[in-house]
């Protein structure tokens, strides 16, 4: 094994680990905390953007129907006709014609509503493109009410994530991002996987390059990358007991990871369809699932979302559920666009808990981006896409849509010094 670059690493995901859990709680706590914290963060931004004279008001202070010009900070709620609804699913009247699951249920007629601590108001205006907004975003809007009960928005402001530390360490460290290994389907691309393994170890004539690859993040769906077909029944949940095939796949994966972790550090995140818990944040896989790889100190299972500091760069990413859910509920066209949006909204997964399952936190919202990451990725995308996003205050973030390996047989390679990023393909036929 070639000598590898050493580089400082710190796992920053503790906020995503659940030490205890309580399911007697409801989701309003999470929204309330999100709104409270984001309001605190947005207030100074709003005042610096629109001036101190403009009053920041609560909806309940807008007595009656007079036209007050002000700033309102609140949570977006999108009323969507075709939003998946468990009520509709179990409606006995609808049993005859089950509604097909829609790939995308965003429509021009979606109503955009802003809700503060106590009240709601319908938003309208050129800035309110319902198709590019999502439920759960906290934002500040400037405008005024009209007699019809609408709030006419003249301008809108998002938090755009917190401050960014500058990159201090100058070493040519590189990060490998892979997702969607889909071990259950791996017989279709086992050659590509082998190539990938050679490449990781530097045996593909890339030994110099390989020496600078310090870490591999496996961003979800290693076991499975599509949903198990659901059988509708009258019950809450039929136990999904036949896990035999996944058991097989997990032990297969164990061998791969054990091999890879010989070459470099491997961080394994669970994904949407993996045998892990369902709600975000998904907890790390249990050690008992990876007896071989688990023996190596260079291998670890981590949470999804996952955040760490590597070579002074802040890296944040998910298995892709946040992006996929936005693509379903909004008119956003590409994964990259959706990923960029979550960054500018300052929240990793705004649609959680509304349409994206997440734990009912009662004291915090761990998904708020309190610091601006240098590398921000989402796994299991249709194809590789990347962009260097420059935000306000010259914050630079490398956005990476990590392709699903089972679909593209490719991975993403990020240079942590320059924040350059490129796709490496292992597609045997095309090369």
């Amino acid at each position: 094994m070639a000598k590898r670059l050493e580089c400082p690493y710190e796992n920053l995901s503790s906020a995503f680990l659940l030490q205890s859990s309580d399911y007697q709680k409801q989701f309003f706590h999470l929204y309330a905390h999100r709104l409270a914290e984001m309001t605190r963060l947005l207030k100074p931004l709003a005042q610096s953007k629109w001036g101190k004279e403009m009053p920041i008001m609560k909806l309940c202070e807008l007595r009656g129907e007079q036209d007050v010009h002000c700033i309102i900070i609140g949570t977006i709620y999108k009323h969507q006709q075709h939003k998946p609804s468990i009520l509709r699913d179990i409606s006995e009247e609808n049993q005859l014609a089950p509604q097909p699951q829609r790939q995308n249920y965003s429509e021009p007629g979606d109503k955009v509503i802003l809700e503060d601590e106590l009240q709601r108001v319908r938003l309208q205006g050129d800035h309110i493109a319902g198709r590019s907004l999502a439920t759960g975003i906290v934002c500040a809007v400037k405008g005024g009410t009209d007699s019809e009960g609408f709030f006419n928005v003249e301008d809108i402001l998002f938090f755009e994530s917190g401050p960014q530390k500058s990159l201090t360490l100058k070493s040519p460290a590189k990060l490998v991002l892979v997702s969607g290994l889909d071990q259950l389907q791996a017989h279709n691309y086992v050659d590509a996987l082998n190539m990938f393994q050679y490449w990781l170890s530097g045996s593909l004539g890339n030994s110099k390059d390989a020496a600078s690859m310090v870490r591999l993040i496996v961003a979800g769906n290693s076991v499975r990358s599509t949903a198990v077909a659901n059988v509708p029944t009258l019950q809450v949940a039929r136990s999904q007991a036949n896990a035999n095939d996944t058991v097989q796949a997990v032990s297969q994966l164990d061998s791969w990871f054990a091999a890879w972790a010989q070459a470099l550090h491997v961080d394994l995140m669970p994904g949407a369809y993996d045998p892990a818990n369902f709600m975000l944040p998904q907890q790390p896989f249990h050690k008992c699932m990876f007896p071989q790889a688990g023996r190596l100190s260079s291998f670890q299972a981590v949470s999804n979302p996952y955040s760490c500091r590597l070579n002074s760069a802040l890296i944040v990413g998910t298995g892709g559920q946040n992006v996929a859910d936005l693509l379903r509920s909004t008119g956003l066209e590409s994964s990259l666009e959706a990923l960029r949006c979550t960054l500018t909204w300052g929240h990793i997964a705004p649609t959680a808990p509304d349409t994206l399952a997440c734990y009912p936190y009662i004291e915090s919202d761990p998904f708020i981006m309190r610091q601006c990451p240098h590398v921000y990725f989402a796994g299991n995308c249709e194809k590789f896409e990347t962009e260097l996003h420059v935000g306000t205050g010259d914050k630079r973030t490398r956005l990476v849509c990590v392709p699903s390996f089972s679909k593209t047989q490719s991975v993403a390679l990020v240079d942590l010094e320059t924040l350059d990023c490129r796709e490496i393909k292992f597609n045997v036929e095309s090369e």
Partner: protein
């Protein structure tokens, strides 16, 4: 909140009514009425209970609330046109220059309506007087009229008990006229009748009674003279005479009317913007056709009230305050209400999009609300159960608090709205006691009444109804919380106001979705009765109104009929014995289009064509002039005399055809609604004509007609069967011998023995034409649909996939199968539905059996969601003779917590729990929430044997035959059962829990107490862990979907979900998933945290 409501009439027993109104009702067949209702006293003057007083003036406070000012009109030059909505009469003084009696008091008809510009109109119609007929005694001649006039006048005046109205003239005219008796054919020679016109409606009854009982004129004996048309309501009589039909347009031509103004005499009496006088023969009543089928922009007010009740007690108007009233006003035809407001007691935070009006005193709130109603001037009042709850509560509460002038809610300034009781008896709905409140000129249109009348539902709570029709749940706040919210701060009251607003808004949406207003309006137009009577009265009045109209043009008069209460029965419709089974081949269905109406038309069945015994010889009729029906009655043929009923039916069906044709070409969605409503109204009306003749306690029953109709129906079904089976045979070159497998009332199911849909449709069409040709016009056999496949269970019980075109099925059609029975658990309906789907749509009988077994296994292993097992019954009264499960449970719950226990009028949900052998079922009922929280075991056997087995066997017997029971209910899948250990009762206190291995469930050996797996299972740790995680996944997903759904439904992300709507299918699920998820989490945790 509808948990505060009660749908039965119990609460009204201690009522405040002055008198009860009895209205008749009937449905198609008649019979079964209580005889006492027959003693309906004709022309009882209902207005006597009105209390006179002086109501407050209308205020104008808001441009948005008030109607736009009317245009300046000059009666000499302008005409006034309005859509009339309500017709009623009152006693007034004669107006100089108007026809009719010139000495007061006189009856005046009041019509209320709206112009196309949205101005409200009150129109006084003068000069129309009530009358009736008696058959003239022998030798009574023209010259006797004056004597009778004088004598009867004296008698009637003497009969008045205390003449407080100072009546000076009772009988206005006595004439000898020639008319025909509608009942029985007696040739065309008219008979002599005495037409007696009186001054006041109530004298009709008095005069006819006196004529019967007393000697009026020595020379003549009137006691044997039959009275005619003395039992017709004055309003209906007026409408027939002037050709006014319900909700039609009235035009007052220039010069014919007078406008009342500030200084006019008489002074205006109403709150309408335009108040006018006209003579009864001076206005134009437009037939609702063409341009005149339009609808004015009516104002519809929907409202809902909230009361702060005491813990555990149903709100009483004498004790519990009204804390909020939410209002929505919409113009008919628009999609959103233009007024949205809520009146609240104490400060309430503002609601964007709705006006919030806060008051410190309840008196003030009520007073302002009443003023609001008067200012908005709605034409229609709606809401959910307003007739029996909201309106009486408000009136009683206002009276209790002595709010001056509150009760003047109608359009006549000095008439109070008062509560009366009314008993509605109908075969269709049973006996219902309702409260009725008068709102002169405004029509109370309670949505609940519409639903009870037109839809058969599992539950009629607003929750259930909005879920059923709009697929939306409604957040429900338990009544024990309402008072807490009211006593909180302005934000909690705002939250309450949001619910209240939603409860006011939903009825409007439902009315629109069901097109109720439009349909009822069309029904009023078609049948000619006022809108309001469609909701408060039965079918008879509709037919009566049409019959009177027709009879009048032909010179017929109707004898008044007193019910003999006879039990005479006639044979019902026929049923061809079903050949039960599951038919995988297409079954063609031939239907008689409007069978009963067409029989009546084809065979000229009518009162006027009926030959009474002996009449044939007396009139010297020949055999070919007379038709003998299969029921052995005789009717004259149409060339001798065309019957009235056939004519009515013809025009109804022709009008329906026109409406259907117009519907095809009409593009405008609102006009399409009107047309569709009309064609439906026409169809229902045509069918109710037959029912009218069969209603034995009706106005004019005629069993000769109804009996003949069904007899013809029977012979036609038989004949169709024979024709089809003899023609479609292999001998005649067809694929197979056709078999009629079933026939009922007006349809025949034929198995042609062909495999393709196309061919079965072709043959069906051909057969329909073939058979139709053999029947008298207009009876027509139509091919309508093919069932493919078809499951024939028994008489009136079948299911099939319904095809009208070969490409795709239209729907799954089920008749008589347990899907809506209210005393079943949802499990039954859902399982039946799923099985039928598998049988019919997926054509997979084996799959259906497997599914069924799976569900039974799930039931026995306690895997069925509890909401599927909940049975709901209304706690109507507590002193049932026999012990009832829900009553016992309510008592039990009261001991646990009196505050949240169900009260009288609430619906009690329960599940049946396991108990010791021979425990009676009523002791096994338990609160579903209590069951969930304490893991009380369900009595799976009860559900299997009492609920599922019968309906399941019924649908599976045609498929599995005799072994159905052993396959479904006793198979392998019933062997495994899960017994849940309860946390309460029995031995629960004595048990200790010992750690068991998560893999093999064995008790942990020593030294392993803290571990998750025993040494034997340890090697399989990864697998077992993944299994536990997989179960957790499913629960997590469900948890998230359920609780976010509630968050969405309550319309707030930042506030806690406090809804307790037990009708909601996810109410129990969300509770159960919480508990299961906690348990599952504990299991996963035993493997230790994933630490690296």
């Amino acid at each position: 909140m509808d948990n505060k409501r009660k749908f039965n009439g119990n609460g009204t027993a201690n009522g405040h009514s002055k008198k009860s109104r009895n209205f008749d009702d009937d449905d198609e067949m008649g019979g079964g009425f209580e005889a006492e209702l027959a003693a309906f006293e004709p022309n009882d003057d209902l207005d006597q209970t009105q209390l006179m007083g002086e109501g407050p003036e209308n205020q104008q406070t808001s441009e948005r609330w008030s109607r736009a000012a009317p245009p300046k009109l000059n009666p000499a030059e302008d005409s006034l046109t309005f859509q009339q909505l309500d017709v009623e009469n009152y006693l007034g003084q004669p107006l100089p220059g108007m026809p009719g009696a010139q000495l007061g008091p006189v009856p005046v008809v009041r019509m209320f309506g709206v112009t196309m510009e949205g101005n409200s109109v009150c129109c006084h119609v003068h000069g129309y007087c009530p009358y009736f007929y008696i058959s003239a005694p022998k030798n009574f001649e023209q010259r006797h009229c004056a004597d009778l006039h004088e004598a009867l006048d004296k008698k009637v005046i003497a009969d008045i008990r205390n003449n407080k109205d100072h009546v000076q003239e009772a009988v206005l005219a006595v004439e000898l006229v020639q008319r025909l008796n509608i009942h029985g054919y007696q040739g065309d020679e008219k008979q002599w009748y005495i037409k007696i016109t009186v001054t006041l409606p109530r004298f009709v009854a008095a005069a006819s009674r006196l004529l019967k009982k007393e000697v009026i004129m020595g020379a003549f004996d009137f006691q044997d003279c039959r009275a005619f048309e003395n039992n017709i309501d004055f309003d209906i009589r007026f409408m027939v005479e002037t050709q006014v039909v319900g909700c039609n347009w009235i035009e007052l031509p220039p010069g014919a009317w007078r406008l009342r103004g500030r200084n006019s005499k008489p002074a205006p009496e109403s709150r309408c913007q335009l108040e006018v006088d006209v003579a009864y023969d001076q206005f134009i009543s437009h037939e609702p056709e063409g341009e005149w089928s339009k609808v004015a922009p009516l104002r519809i007010l929907s409202f809902d009230i909230e009361c702060a009740g005491r813990r555990g007690i149903f709100p009483e108007a004498k004790m519990d305050p009204v804390i909020q009233i939410a209002n929505m006003v919409i113009r008919q035809g628009e999609s959103e209400p233009f007024i949205r407001n809520v009146f609240t007691l104490k400060e309430c935070a503002p609601i964007i999009g709705s006006q919030v009006l806060c008051y410190d005193k309840e008196q003030q709130l009520l007073d302002k609300w009443a003023a609001f109603v008067r200012e908005v001037d709605p034409d229609i009042l709606t809401g959910y159960n307003i007739n029996n709850f909201d309106i009486p509560y408000l009136l009683n509460r206002a009276a209790h608090l002595k709010v001056q002038g509150f009760e003047y809610l109608g359009r006549i300034k000095n008439i109070r709205s008062v509560i009366k009781e009314q008993v509605l008896q109908s075969k269709q709905m049973g006996r219902r006691e309702n409260q009725y409140v008068n709102f002169e000129g405004r029509v109370p249109f309670d949505l609940l009444f519409v639903l009870l009348r037109d839809y058969k539902l599992r539950s009629y709570t607003l929750n259930a109804v909005s879920y059923h029709f709009l697929q939306e749940q409604k957040e429900d706040v338990h009544h024990s919380i309402i008072t807490d919210l009211q006593n909180g701060d302005e934000q909690t009251r705002r939250r309450l106001a949001m619910y209240c607003l939603k409860d006011a808004y939903l009825p409007l949406r439902l009315l629109e979705k069901l097109m109720a207003i439009v349909n009822y309006m069309e029904m009023a137009r078609v049948t000619g009765v006022p809108l309001e009577s469609l909701l408060t009265r039965g079918q008879q009045i509709k037919v009566l109104s049409q019959l009177l109209r027709k009879a009048k043009t032909k010179g017929f008069i109707m004898p008044s009929y007193t019910s003999s209460g006879s039990d005479e029965q006639y044979e019902g419709a026929t049923v061809i014995e079903p050949k039960r089974g599951y038919y995988a081949d297409p079954i063609s269905t031939l239907d008689f289009a409007s069978l009963y109406p067409s029989i009546m038309m084809a065979h000229n069945l009518c009162y006027t064509t009926l030959l009474l015994p002996g009449a044939k010889d007396k009139l010297g009729l020949t055999d070919d002039q007379v038709e003998r029906t299969p029921a052995n009655n005789s009717f004259v043929k149409a060339d001798l005399r065309r019957g009235l009923l056939p004519e009515i039916l013809e025009s109804l069906l022709a009008a329906r055809k026109r409406a259907k044709n117009d519907l095809k070409v009409e593009k405008d969605p609102f006009k399409r609604q009107v047309l569709d409503g009309r064609q439906l109204a026409l169809k229902i009306s045509a069918n109710s004509v037959y029912g009218f003749t069969g209603a034995q306690v009706g106005k004019l029953p005629c069993l000769e007609i109804s009996g003949s109709v069904t007899a013809y129906g029977r012979t036609m079904i038989e004949m169709t069967k024979n024709e089809v089976e003899t023609h479609y045979t292999r001998v005649n070159g067809y694929e197979n011998d056709a078999v009629v497998i079933y026939g009922d009332t007006d349809s025949v199911m034929v198995n042609f023995g062909v495999k393709s849909l196309e061919r079965s449709m072709e043959l069906g069409r051909e057969a329909a034409d073939l058979v139709s040709a053999k029947f008298v016009q207009p009876i027509k056999l139509e091919f309508e649909k093919v069932y493919y496949p078809y499951l024939l269970i028994n008489k009136k019980r079948y299911a099939g996939l319904y095809f009208t075109k070969p490409e795709k099925y239209d729907k799954m059609d089920c008749k008589g199968i347990e899907t809506v029975r209210r005393d079943n658990s949802p499990l039954v309906a859902n399982l039946m539905n799923a099985c039928l789907q598998k049988l019919l749509i997926e054509r997979d009988p084996e799959g259906a059996v497997d599914y069924c077994k799976q569900i039974i296994a799930d039931l026995l292993c306690n895997r069925i969601d509890i909401s599927q097992l909940v049975i709901t019954k209304e706690l109507a009264k507590t002193d049932y003779a026999a012990k009832q499960a829900h009553v016992e449970l309510a008592a039990k719950m009261k001991k646990r917590d009196a505050g949240t226990a169900p009260k009288l009028g609430d619906r009690v949900p329960y599940v049946i729990c396991a108990a010791a052998k021979n425990t009676p079922a009523y002791q096994k009922a338990e609160d579903p929430l209590y069951v969930l929280e304490n893991s009380v075991p369900i009595d799976a056997n009860y559900y299997l044997e009492q609920q599922l087995s019968k309906p399941l066997l019924r649908i599976f017997e045609p498929i599995l035959g005799d072994k159905a029971e052993s396959v479904l209910l006793k198979g392998e899948h019933t062997r495994t059962r899960t017994v849940v250990t309860s946390k309460v009762g029995g031995l629960a206190g004595f048990m200790t829990k010992k750690a068991a291995c998560l893999g093999c469930k064995s008790l942990m050996p020593k030294g392993y107490e803290q571990a998750c797996l025993c040494p034997h299972c340890e090697p399989k740790m990864s697998e077992l862990y993944q299994k536990e995680v997989a179960s957790k996944r499913g629960l997590e997903e469900t948890f998230a979907r359920l609780w976010t759904e509630c968050q969405r439904c309550q319309g707030s992300l930042h506030e806690e979900v406090i809804c307790s709507n037990r009708d909601c299918p996810i109410f129990y699920m969300r509770q159960k998933v919480r508990m299961e998820l906690d348990t599952q989490e504990q299991r996963v945790r035993r493997f230790g945290l994933p630490e690296w």
